[in-house]
């Protein structure tokens, strides 16, 4: 059993790592990480805009965004992937690679989830900050830009890391539309070997576990540090409650 696993890793480590890269599209673990990193980077500005829209006093801005957040919370990611697989080529009129389809879906999906995190971060800050900034002569937007968001976003770093972890887990769903990621590479290996499916998928699970576990670990360390720092800043008072990352972030 162990020998089988070692043999598979020796034969296929390059395929699992970068897919068929020099001869074909980039795939494997590298593609999984690039896809997750890109989608979280693009989802972040989207999330801030959505959160500001949800906190806005104009109903015209608030209602459609609230609806979008509820739709993304109530519909499986798989269904959204099917939608973009159908709609993105229709709108752009071009042959879109599945990587781009998956990226679009993840930006919308994680953008909606992150917007809840951003919103919670802003609300958790309390209204005193905004009142004080307004009293000092900041405009509403200026106060948001220079006072509220810097603090809220700093407190949210752990939640952002956990969203990154769930994005990594979400990229596995790209398997359905043949995005060449780690899961895809593993099933290719399985199709070539045919006889050792358990060993192949065990390797796959272990790789995902190693990545997600270490990132979660980093998130916990950062969270503790931020809690301590905030406690220090507020003169040794009880640590202010952070954004409840684990409740909001989606599991997959």
């Amino acid at each position: 059993m162990i020998n089988d696993v070692i043999a598979i890793i020796q034969d296929y480590w390059l395929l699992l790592l970068i897919g068929q890269y020099p001869n074909g599209p980039l795939g494997g673990l590298a593609n999984t990480l690039i896809l997750s990193a890109l989608s979280i980077m693009l989802a972040f500005p989207v999330a801030i805009l959505l959160a500001l829209a949800r906190l806005s006093k104009w109903r015209l801005l608030r209602w459609p965004v609230t609806a979008l957040v509820y739709i993304t919370r109530g519909v499986p990611l798989l269904m959204l992937i099917l939608w973009s697989y159908f709609l993105v080529p229709l709108w752009t009129g071009a042959d879109v690679p599945s990587f781009v389809t998956m990226l679009t879906t993840l930006v919308v999906y994680q953008g909606a989830f992150l917007s809840e995190v951003v919103r919670a971060g802003i609300v958790a800050l309390g209204s005193g900050q905004m009142d004080a900034a307004r009293a000092l002569g900041h405009s509403s937007l200026g106060a948001m830009r220079f006072i509220i968001l810097p603090q809220a976003l700093y407190n949210m770093i752990p939640s952002i890391i956990s969203t990154f972890v769930s994005t990594i887990k979400d990229t596995t769903l790209g398997y359905v539309i043949n995005v060449p990621d780690l899961t895809f590479a593993a099933s290719q290996v399985n199709n070539q070997l045919l006889t050792q499916p358990f060993q192949v998928f065990l390797i796959l699970a272990v790789v995902y576990y190693a990545i997600c576990w270490s990132l979660t670990h980093v998130a916990n360390i950062v969270e503790r540090r931020i809690t301590r720092r905030r406690a220090g800043l507020s003169g040794g008072a009880a640590p202010v409650a952070l954004v409840p990352a684990k409740i909001i972030s989606e599991q997959l």
Binding site: Y70, I71, R73, G74, V75, P76, L77, L78, M79, L82, W83, F86, V165, I168, K169, D170, T172, L173, Y175, V176, T183, S187, N190, P197, F198, Q199, V200, F201, L202, L204, A205, Y208, Y209, C212, W213, T216, K246, I247, E250, Q251, L252
Partner: protein, 235 residues
């Protein structure tokens, strides 16, 4: 391919039968895995609170594995991997009895048990130890204090994350399509292949999922309100 025509799908008895079957299978998977997950979560909780050092570690490892490996990969490991290691007699019996659905229930249920047990644990931990001591001082035994004093408060605290995760479980039931279970997403894909009305059938599928998810969220909100009317009124 004509214009938008929802009735072409909803008035076609063949398509509606497929969709209804899909909904039925989605609920079989959802309810089956929910019950499995809750039972297992309570069991894991008992092990966690028992004085055994080893049991605590084992449960922590179980939770860590199921939270850090994508659910899809867990399902694939079950269906494509572990399934092949079963004795041949059991394999053929399972294959004759809807193995996809059974493994979807097992995979999703075991995964969700990790989330449920953590929700319950953090709910119980938020009940202050003074509650237990006070209950004992009033003459309750450990079990009866747990049953009448600690548990009701703990479960109430755990309700919001439990509801969130119940909704996620419902959404995750769509992952069963990857191992070939014939649930709602599968039915949507099938109708799409037959009717070529992609937009309409995706719309129907999305609305169905949204409806049931909102129903679960609403039921959860009602339950929280019933469990603690005072706090819900304040919130």
């Amino acid at each position: 391919m004509n214009g938008f025509d929802l009735w072409a799908i909803l008035r076609n008895p063949e398509y509606t039968a497929m969709l209804l079957h899909g909904i039925e299978m989605t609920f079989v998977i959802y309810i089956g895995s929910w019950l499995l997950a809750m039972t297992l979560a309570l069991l894991l909780l008992c092990i966690r609170f028992s004085p055994l050092r080893f049991g605590d570690r084992a449960v922590a490892a179980y939770v860590s594995y199921h939270r850090n490996v994508p659910t899809l990969v867990q399902l694939m490991l079950w269906y494509f991997g572990i399934f092949t290691l079963f004795p041949p007699g059991l394999t053929s019996w399972l294959a004759a009895h809807n193995a996809e659905t059974i493994f979807a229930v097992i995979g999703l249920g075991l995964c969700q048990a990790a989330y449920f047990s953590e929700d319950l644990r953090s709910g119980l931990r938020s009940v202050s130890p003074g509650q237990m001591e006070a209950a004992k001082a009033l003459g309750h035994s450990y079990v009866s204090a747990m049953r009448f004093v600690v548990m009701p408060q703990g479960v109430r605290n755990a309700l919001p994350p439990l509801i969130n995760h119940s909704v996620s479980l419902f959404k995750n039931s769509s992952l069963a399509i990857v191992i070939g279970a014939s649930e709602l997403t599968h039915a949507v894909k099938e109708v799409e292949n037959l009717s070529f009305r992609t937009f309409e059938i995706y719309l129907v599928g999305t609305v169905l999922y949204l409806f049931f998810s909102l129903l679960i969220m609403g039921a959860g909100a009602y339950l929280s309100m019933r469990a603690d009317p005072a706090r819900s009124a304040r919130a």
